[in-house]
Symmetry: C2
Subunit: 263 residues, 2 copies
């Protein structure tokens, strides 16, 4: 998932699969809810349902962490909350900075889900001098000029980039130079970072595009909600003819694909 470099099996790694790591927060959320309702134990079946996965996967995931369940009974909720939190590093306090306090940055600053896990918004940073000092979510915005000092003073190793795309790489470079080694990128750009720095990206429009793909499939080939497509004009094909894979055998049912674009 890291954007730029190779990314060894999992940063040195004792070997928890990435796919499992990505689900641990899900389990943790479900467990926290159970914990609040004072439920003492859960079966893999129940917990899996609450987390939206199937129970075999959940059990296999937990097996990478160790044997924390009791056969015939299930898992001790409190204990598992602790184990997963520890595995994810949430028993520590992680100061984060958010750079770019526009709509999205402000939303992030206000987002309750951070504080409730081990994250603390240590600073908000924006390039606009007129924002400096203005409080957002109770935290005064600071100017980009002080970025390096802020990182250092607060011992920040995780940075969130919520700037426009154009500024993202530059901000990223400064964060990295100042010592940040994990970046959550909301700007729609590919960031390049040196080895050892992790980048995860959240791209709102990408998620919608994936939905649109599936939506289109569902709809067969009818118009979705509004006027049919006249958006991009077909564009000239290259010299070569356009083929399709899979000769005569086993082809999809719907006869879409107009074979060759009209020049």
């Amino acid at each position: 998932m890291a954007t730029g470099r190779t990314h060894r099996p999992a940063t040195r790694s004792r070997g928890i699969p990435e796919a499992t790591v990505a689900r641990l927060p899900l389990y943790l959320r479900a467990l926290t809810a159970l914990s609040e309702r004072s439920v003492p134990t859960v079966s893999s079946e129940e917990l899996a349902a609450a987390a939206g996965v199937n129970s075999a996967k959940l059990r296999k995931d937990f097996s990478y962490l160790g044997s924390y369940g009791t056969r015939g009974v299930g898992y001790d909720v409190e204990y598992l909350v602790y184990q997963i939190s520890r595995e994810l590093g949430l028993t520590q306090d992680w100061p984060v900075v958010i750079v770019g306090i526009g709509n999205l940055g402000a939303a992030l600053a206000n987002y309750g889900g951070f504080a409730s896990r081990g994250f603390r918004v240590a600073a908000l940073i924006d390039a606009d001098p007129s924002m400096a000092g203005r409080p957002v979510a109770g935290i005064p915005v600071q100017h980009t000029d002080d970025l390096e000092a802020i990182i250092e003073e607060n011992g920040v190793s995780i940075g969130v980039i919520a700037t426009p795309a154009g500024a993202a790489q530059q901000v990223c470079d400064r964060l990295v130079a100042a010592g940040v080694t994990s970046i959550l990128n909301f700007a729609p750009t590919v960031l390049s970072v040196p080895d050892g720095v992790d980048v995860r990206k959240v791209d709102l429009s990408i998620e919608l595009q994936i939905l649109a793909f599936h939506e289109q499939r569902k709809a067969g080939e009818e118009a979705p909600g509004e006027a049919g497509g006249d958006i991009t004009p077909p564009a000239a094909p290259p010299a070569a003819a356009v083929r399709r894979r899979g000769e005569g055998t086993e082809q999809g049912p719907d006869g879409d694909m107009p074979a060759v674009m009209p020049a």
Copy 2:
């Protein structure tokens, strides 16, 4: 990635792998940038670099769409933009509604990346009556009471949920009942939906947690930035002893894991 149900190979499917679909928007973004700079062709190598993947993967991905390149030359940028857009369904106009106009909802409404692809924010909906009529991103907010009518009038099939967690399932149910078949969920809850409805989720705190996991690994076992962990008290272990997988052979270097929790 859909949250609730089984999800056949890929909704009826002519067979583009999910992993490939998830990368198409990335390629599209890179191609759009090239197009704006009037670059006529790209090699798989160049495009892969711009999209942050490796070239073998990119070529394999494109091979699922058809043969759109020219050997010895590369890909025609405009043509490929069109083909990918079409494959993703972006040559159509997709009206979307955003429900929950808090900080995040407002950020989404203002997000430029939607309109530039085939998405159009058809309506903003919020449960707070005092927001009704107030324009956000130039679009007047409407009240939840009218949700069904709005969906129907606009032929909306994609909904974005940006409400608090507690309201999400209820909003989801109403969206689905009104005809929405794709949902992008920003609320930190597992939504359950009937078969045939796709859900994708974006959870800001989950991404941070995954970063924290890797960050912890990098740091060895030193304190990260601030005070060390005294957050969750260890919690009682269940009856059983705690094992670890992998007997004597091949074990990770760092001797963490205090074997058994102090009761």
